[in-house]
Amino acid sequence: MNTSTVTRADLTDAVYRELGLSRTESAHLVESIIEHIISALLREENVKIAGFGTFMLRDKSERIGRNPKTGNEVPITSRRVLVFKPSLVLKDRVNTALTGE
């Protein structure tokens, strides 16, 4: 199993190899994709990438949490969070590849 973490540099490399643009421009395009996704989310728009998954905002109401070390009850305040719902295609690809079935 490959365990080395992939970063922006690797994604830049993949774009560079696929399109043959300069590395600088490839890096700029990778950054731009991330920025566009973040901007849409901050405009409170969900981001749906077919074949990959959906990034969506969810409002969570306040709930009681517990400090796992001390067992003390602590309130977890209401908040807005980002959740990623992987597409069926991606779920299937990852599971098939990793369970070897």
Binding site: S32, N95, A97
Partner: protein
């Protein structure tokens, strides 16, 4: 925002590239992340978040319609953890 809209916006900002090239850029981006997860590795994007495959233990599930028990085998699922920076920015959109 849909993938096609992301491609449109980026193509507009980069008029020296064709829309078809921009589509390849965007597809390569997500395909590389998908392939990394298939290999068992994680993808870390500072300021955004990290994708990783997560192991789920086998468990006894229930068919909600019949109430019968079903064996759910172990599996791996794609998981995304939002980066701290973005988590704070997202939460701030409430006010």
């Amino acid at each position: 925002m849909l993938k096609s809209e992301l491609i449109d916006q980026m193509a507009e900002e980069n008029p020296h590239l064709s829309r078809n090239d921009m589509e390849r850029v965007v597809v390569t981006f997500f395909e590389t992340i998908s392939q990394t997860l298939e290999s068992g590795a994680r993808v870390e994007l500072r300021g955004f978040g990290a994708f990783s495959p997560r192991y789920r233990k086998p468990r006894i599930g229930r068919n909600p319609r019949t109430g019968g028990t079903v064996h759910v085998p172990e599996k791996y699922v794609p998981f995304f953890r939002t980066g701290k920076d973005l988590r704070d920015r997202i939460n701030a959109t409430r006010d």
